[in-house]
Amino acid sequence: MSSAGNDIVALAAIDKQRTHHSRFYSKILADAERPLFDSLQPGTMSFENFVWLLWSIKESVYKYLKRTEPGLLFAPAKIHIRKIELPRIHADLLHDISAAPLRSVSAVSSEETQWESRGTGPGDESYKGIALFESRIFYFRSKIHPDFIATVVNSEESFENIWWGVQSIGHSDYTHQSLAVRSFALNKLNAVLFAGRDAAGKSPLQIGKSPLGYPLLLKDTREMTIPLSFAHHANFVAYSFNLALPPQ
């Protein structure tokens, strides 16, 4: 069964100093993962970004599984990251991360950022790799930006049907985050599902919530079979959904 799992970490909201304490990161990293950082080319990423990258991957895997395994508990150190592949253009971007493919949404705020992607392609500059939980393999795509780390996971190697996006928001309270991520995802889903049609009518799409807490996509109040995942942290929200479009 297909599912969806994503996560976002707002880097301004993490305690960088605390992240470096072994007492802290040992609750996130498995013993075998510390050498993964040492194996990265020096300057690739800071240790705190490494820890939070792995957190975001592990949280995404947990959310992907929780949908079908309600009794599952989140134990980050039991999810093992086995491989991190750097973005293709990473070497060129090491000291010029501002070249990351973000765009400014000037209509809302000159400082607001928004980034959206589907699958992989020429413009894809994600970190990629593999995570293992028990005997199951998951594939991840992560975006590391100066302000956030975002991850999406899939149980298949292809991300052709995975849509994901990140948006900054003006207020970090829970109510605002919740409204913002729903609106952000619905805008994308409406654009994808109803592209080319008369958009004059009211959208039939709504977001509901399952008894387990994950989001549900509803059309005319009936649940659609499009797995959806939301994440929010401080001033960032993120969505992912799994949707195969019919061939044109």
């Binding site: 305690d15 609750k27 309270d173 807490g213 942290h233």
Partner: protein, 85 residues
Amino acid sequence: MDRREILEELKKVLAPYTENKEMLAGVTEQTDLINDLKINSANLVDIIIDAEAKYNIEIDMDSSEKMVDVKSCIDVIAEKMNVQK
């Protein structure tokens, strides 16, 4: 320290990580950290570290994954405090 005293101290541990102060004040053992107190999952490790310091205990991985609501937090803390004695 009995369960009621552990709970009172636990409220102080949780306070920096929830904006829902009203619910925190009226917290019960059934209160869920994420769904009720709206604590961001990114702060769960902070809470474990702070609880370790507050109660002078060590919380291992198997115990920390159980700490999803107030009852399970108190269960784990009480168990670890007994081990310390």
